[in-house]
């Protein structure tokens, strides 16, 4: 049957969701004794093989070519689809990251199969059928989905599954393949990447999100949230409600909600956000929600684990100070 994971790397770093997927496969392997294969696409990938092996891959396909140095859906999907066609795995899993959401539907199209997208849980039943749990209607509904064609494909939402500890002694078989990609046939050309001044973590992959709403009143005031984020340390990033985005305080790529990002951090701190249904849709699965709002009737308090009723301008600086002090003591 064989389980395949499409791993992802970016700027020399392996995505955490790739390890989450390998961990999931390790659990499934206990049940089904299936070999775990992993495919990674890019250029100069050798250094990743060790880690992928330690986290559970038995066989690692490195699809390398200079053309694949930067991502394009055209080239990456061909490299993966060709390999999958050759080996015929029954199950093919990937991460629902920014890249995964662009790439995996095209891989599935090229394989003439289906894809259960952005799943929060995946299991295999006795008959080898993939059982996928996924949210729909922005998380207002949960469904189970199965796939009627092979390979059965699913993408997993980052940050949902746990990463099991690696086995340092484990050695995987590494197979290097050179994908057949003709530069002249590539239509999608990346001409430039504009990076943010300081690299931000994508909201969908953040451990902690500090979000601000209309009450932030200006772009400058978002500094209060950035300070808190910085105090909370690595893995923390800043988000916003649509009201704050529409007012132009912050760019749309940090909007949380039904028409923004659906996020799933360990901690979500909502500051001056009322808790409209479209906002809740984007963050309701956060493991812990903290709300800071001066209106005790704000709907966000109905969903928050911890709430502070008060003025965020008084509270945030104090909170940041306390956390800074605490982290410094450690």
């Amino acid at each position: 049957m064989s389980l395949w994971v499409i791993a992802e790397q970016k700027d020399g770093k392996l995505k955490k969701v790739s390890l989450e997927l390998l961990s999931l496969c390790k659990k499934l392997k206990e049940k089904f004794k299936e070999e775990i294969s992993c495919v990674l696409v890019g250029y100069n990938l050798e250094s990743f093989a060790q880690i992928l092996g330690e986290y559970g891959a038995d066989k690692i396909f490195l699809a390398e070519d200079e053309i694949l140095k930067s991502y394009s859906n055209d080239a990456y999907s061909k490299a993966i689809a060709d390999l999958v066609k050759e080996h015929n795995p029954k199950i093919l899993l990937g991460g629902a990251t920014a890249q995964g959401k662009d790439l995996l539907p095209l891989v599935s199209a090229k394989l003439n199969t289906g894809l259960a997208a952005d799943c929060v849980a995946v299991d295999i039943d006795e008959g080898g059928k993939l059982i996928c749990t996924r949210p729909m209607y922005a998380g207002k509904v949960k469904v189970t989905a199965t796939l009627e064609s092979f390979p059965q494909m699913a993408s997993l939402r980052p940050n949902v599954l746990e990463v099991l500890p690696p086995d340092k002694s484990k050695k995987a078989e590494v197979i290097k393949v050179k994908p057949e990609i003709d530069q002249d046939n590539l239509r999608v050309k990346l001409i430039e990447v504009k990076k943010e001044k300081k690299g931000k973590i994508d909201l969908t992959e953040a451990d902690v999100i500090v979000s601000g709403g209309r009450a932030m009143k200006s772009a400058e005031n978002f500094k209060l949230l950035e300070d808190l984020a910085e105090a909370l340390g690595e893995g923390t990033t800043v988000g916003a409600s649509r009201a704050a985005v529409d007012a132009g305080y912050v760019p749309h790529d940090i909007q949380v909600g039904q028409t923004g990002k659906v996020v799933n951090p360990n901690l979500y701190v909502a500051c001056g956000i009322s808790g409209a249904i479209q906002h809740l849709a984007g963050m309701i699965t956060s493991k812990c929600i903290v709300a800071i709002n001066k209106d005790p009737e704000a709907p966000i308090f109905q969903k928050a684990d911890y709430g502070i009723v008060g003025d965020l301008y008084k509270i945030l600086p104090v909170l940041t100070g306390i956390i800074k002090k605490l982290k410094a003591q450690e």
């Binding site: 970016k10 859906n73 055209d74 990251t97 920014a98 959401k101 662009d102 539907p105 095209l106 599935s108 199209a109 289906g114 894809l115 997208a117 729909m136 209607y137 922005a138 207002k140 509904v141 949960k142 469904v143 989905a145 199965t146 796939l147 009627e148 064609s149 239509r187 999608v188 050309k189 990346l190 001409i191 990447v193 504009k194 902690v208 760019p251 749309h252 790529d253 909007q255 039904q258 028409t259 923004g260 659906v262 360990n266 901690l267 493991k287 812990c288 903290v290 005790p296 308090f301 928050a304 684990d305 911890y306 502070i308 009723v309 008060g310 008084k314 104090v318 909170l319 306390i322 956390i323």
Partner: protein
């Protein structure tokens, strides 16, 4: 320029979704339907391209009878023609089948660019544009925030939202598929004359037999993804309000709770 915009009718984002008694689907009565928000950006971009370069905008939608209203709304905003893929057997189609039907209908009309939304806010699949690209053998760019046509009208440069706020500038030859993200433009509202004119514009209705499909290739039967067992996620309960007037005091309590009870910082 021949511009095709794919639009889907979806429940309004305010709608509270309810599950039917046997968990086989959602309760559709009482739902207010709207044009998928991301498709509004696709449509606006299509209309702007027409205004700049001339040509025609065709909106195409697969959906039940009620989807005509969504098409009509798009005609009022400036689309010229509508195509409604409307057959009871299409019901329950997954992204793969939806794209297959859309591709067949689109392949029969002239087009230079196809615009879609980056995601339907009902099933949240983000797939139809990719399947469509594959069926029509076209390149695509998703999550597009800005679009510029080359002066010879043979290619476009699309600004796409990457991760962590990165912007990727991507060049692709036309014809191509562009999936719109929110920042692409500011959609206009329908004007009164627009609404009047829309009433006279043509909406072509296409059924299973018009498109030469057999019933088991489409709908749930032809689908690769089978969706069942609808349920509501567990309700989140209101937690604890930390009382106190002094910011230092309440913040200290919060931090203690986050450390010792929630164990997250």
């Amino acid at each position: 320029m021949n511009i095709v915009v794919c639009i889907k009718q979806v429940p309004d984002t305010e709608t509270k979704i309810q599950i039917n008694s046997d968990g086989s689907g959602i309760v559709t009565e009482g739902i207010k339907y709207v044009v998928n928000p991301y498709d509004e950006y696709a449509l606006e971009e299509g209309v702007r391209l027409k205004e700049k370069f001339g040509g025609e905008v065709t909106v195409i939608s697969l959906g039940p009878e009620r989807a005509k209203e969504a098409i009509r709304n798009c005609l009022a905003v400036g689309a010229d023609k509508g195509i409604h893929l409307n057959d009871p057997s299409f019901e329950g189609s997954d992204s793969y089948v939806t794209a297959k039907i859309l591709a067949k209908a689109i392949s029969e009309i002239p087009f230079d660019i196809i615009l879609t939304g980056k995601q339907g806010v009902d099933f949240d699949n983000s797939q139809v544009f990719a399947y469509l690209a594959n069926f029509l053998n076209l390149p695509f760019v998703s999550v597009v925030m800005d679009l510029e046509l080359s002066s010879d009208l043979k290619s476009v440069t699309a600004k796409r939202e990457g991760e962590g706020g990165e912007k990727e500038m991507i060049q692709i030859p036309l014809p191509a598929i562009i999936a719109a993200q929110k920042d692409l433009n500011q959609p206009r509202y329908a004007s009164l004359p627009g609404i009047m004119k829309a009433k006279k514009k043509e909406i072509k209705n296409l059924t299973l037999s018009d498109l030469d499909f057999s019933a088991d290739e489409v709908g749930e039967k032809g689908s690769r993804v089978k969706v069942k067992n609808y349920s509501l996620p567990p309700e989140r309960k209101a937690g604890q309000i930390i009382q106190g007037e002094d910011p230092t005091e309440v913040c200290e309590i919060l931090v203690k709770l986050l450390r010792e009870e929630a164990k997250i910082i």
